[in-house]
């Protein structure tokens, strides 16, 4: 980037509006500012009676300004103000050594490891299922209803069952969490890849037939490359879901570590600020994962001649 783009050397308001940096970031910035403003208003409204009741219980005289400032830094607010969440987030990320039990980095890493393993297992399972479905009409009829049924059971109800059963089999810690995460995230991948594997043009399939290509050659040279856009689209959906799966799996286990554990203890003790900063950590984690997949997608697309 050149210095002139940063310096925003401008002559007229139109030029400002057309500046590439402004064009790109102004809409996002506007939205963020609007959300923050609404949030502050909501924090004032929601914490108002809480703070006022506190003053009245202690029988101290108070002014409206006192209550107003009280809503901004309550210890256990109904809705923490954005700056409180930001402070708690940065404090728990940078304020402790990364593997201290109070460090959010540590908890995020615990959840991340279960997420990644679950994502890997789910992606493999989803792709294998899609392959089976595409290559056999019988399997399509017999598997598809089960796949859809599997997603109709709420995972919050299933997770404890999984944990108990897998625990009885001697599996503890990372693996049960990953399996729950995989159970959730295989679904979009299976559905997306069935679509992807059947996406080649009929002419391309007929060409393969005129060359008497084997089914394996049709898969590797046509169906697989044709399904790549579908793969990345479903991977992006799946990685978010697999993070949710890992967090949900941490709730019923009473896990000591992980974003789920932070959420649980935060809600037990009314630590709303801790709760929100754990949520922010989850959001950062999932946008990071999606961003990473987006980068890989772009690199692959460039090699495959995208324009």
């Amino acid at each position: 980037m050149t210095s002139s783009t940063i310096a925003l050397r401008l002559r007229s308001p139109t030029a400002l509006r057309r500046h590439p940096l402004v064009e790109r970031y102004a809409p996002i910035l506007t939205m963020v500012l609007a959300v923050v403003a609404i949030w502050y208003l909501a924090a004032v409204a929601m914490n108002w009676s809480l703070v006022r009741d506190g003053f009245e219980r202690e029988e101290t005289p108070y002014t409206i300004t006192d209550v107003l400032s009280g809503t901004m830094d309550a210890e256990r607010p109904l809705l923490p103000a954005p700056h409180q969440i930001a402070y708690a987030f940065f404090d728990s990320v940078f304020g402790y050594p990364p593997f201290a039990p109070r460090s959010l980095v540590y908890h995020a890493l615990v959840t991340l490891s279960a997420t990644l393993l679950g994502f890997l297992l789910g992606a493999l399972f989803g792709i294998v299922l899609a392959l089976l479905i595409v290559h056999s009409a019988v399997l399509e009829r017999s598997l598809l209803p089960w796949i859809i049924c599997s997603q109709m059971v709420p995972v919050l109800a299933l997770a404890p069952i999984f944990i108990v059963v897998l625990g009885a089999l001697g599996l503890h810690g990372l693996l049960p969490k990953s399996i729950i995460s995989a159970y959730l995230c295989f679904f979009p991948i299976a559905i997306g890849m069935v679509k992807g594997f059947t996406s080649p043009d009929p002419l391309q399939l007929e060409l393969m037939r005129t060359w008497s290509a084997t089914p394996r050659q049709v898969l590797w040279k046509l169906r697989w490359p044709a399904s790549v856009p579908y793969l990345f689209a479903s991977l992006k959906v799946a990685v978010t879901i697999s993070l949710i799966g890992a967090i949900v799996a941490e709730l019923p286990t009473g896990a000591e570590a992980g974003i789920g554990a932070r959420l649980l203890s935060g809600s037990y003790y009314g630590q709303t600020i801790q709760l929100w900063s754990a949520l922010v950590a989850a959001a950062v984690l999932s946008s990071g994962l999606i961003g990473l997949i987006g980068l890989v997608e772009r690199a692959v697309a460039r090699r495959m001649g995208a324009h």
């Binding site: 007929e206 393969m208 005129t210 060359w211 040279k221 490359p225 001649g305």
Partner: protein
């Protein structure tokens, strides 16, 4: 998989069927094709690449039975350039697909290169060019040409040599590393022709390969195709809508008519092999074109 049509012992030999008494100008509208006597002699002298007898193909649709092909018999000798012409629904594309074993006939016998259509396909006897280029968008031009070669197990060196040879044959040297979207429609279609030629099949099946291109590009490609046919000596089966295209390119024109799809005339067309585009102005050319037009009109007369 449907059973391939195998020749039956009772099927008459190719030469028996073309009657010597047949007139050199077969009557229009005759349900069975008739091949002129000199054509029959030419045909019997050379090896038959396609020998189709009484091919019929019907399929059920929501509106009832459709006779896509009805009793079609056709013989194509090695090195011929045969055009199929006729209005939509006359079965010309279906006939090509049957020869390519992309569709199976309901009845009749069919030999391609002396084998059943399925055996011929499995032996990779033909190259097929569709109306759309159907290139693989994620492969460069070079890689697109290599695709059939990879599938057929050619060595790396052989693949590279063939890419060079066939790209230069369609005048596209220098485009190896481009992706299909970087080429015009006409260039893409030339790539698809080079791809069909790349494994050197003796038979080339072309289904309206230039149908989606404009007139100027089409004329240009026709001249190139003629050149290519002359230099390679391949047998070409060519489906088209265009009378001038058919007359300009062919040694034999098969005029077809719809409902049911059938052959109504087979016209021999013996312009010199190295014909120039100027041949289109000659009286002989116009005479053949007129006969094709008459055939098409006759085929149409009773549904309007």
């Amino acid at each position: 998989m449907p059973k391939p049509s195998l020749p039956t012992p009772t099927a008459p030999a190719a030469t028996d069927r073309a009657e010597p008494a047949a007139s050199s100008a077969p009557p229009l509208n005759s349900p069975l094709p008739q091949i002129s006597s000199d054509a029959a002699q030419k045909t019997s002298a050379r090896r038959l690449v396609v020998d189709a007898q009484n091919i019929s193909l019907t399929f059920e649709t929501a509106d009832g039975r459709v006779e896509a092909l009805s009793n079609v018999s056709l013989q194509v000798a090695e090195g011929e350039f045969v055009s199929f012409i006729g209005p939509s629904g006359c079965g010309k594309t279906t006939m090509l697909r049957v020869i390519a074993d992309l569709q199976q006939p309901s009845s009749g016998t069919l030999l391609v290169n002396g084998m059943s259509a399925e055996e011929a396909r499995l032996a990779r006897s033909y190259g097929y060019v569709f109306q759309a280029p159907a290139l693989f968008p994620w492969r460069t031009i070079e890689k697109n040409l290599k695709l059939p070669l990879e599938i057929m197990g050619y060595s790396e060196i052989e693949q590279q040599q063939r890419v060079e040879r066939y790209l230069s044959m369609v005048n596209l040297t220098g485009f190896e590393r481009k992706f299909p979207w970087q080429l015009s429609g006409g260039m893409q279609q030339r790539v698809s022709i080079a791809r069909a030629l790349s494994f050197d099949p003796a038979l080339l099946l072309m289904d309206e390969p230039f149908g989606a291109l404009d007139e100027i590009v089409r004329d240009h490609l026709n001249a190139q195709l003629l050149q290519l046919w002359k230099s390679t000596g391949k047998t070409v089966l060519f489906v088209t809508h265009s009378i001038p295209e058919a007359v300009f390119l062919s040694t034999k024109i098969v005029v077809m008519s719809p409902r049911p799809g059938r052959i109504i005339d087979i016209i021999e067309c013996d312009f010199p092999v190295d014909r120039s585009p100027d041949v289109r102005e000659t009286p002989e050319f116009l005479k053949v074109a007129q006969r094709v037009r008459n055939g098409l009109r006759a085929g149409h007369s009773y549904d309007e």
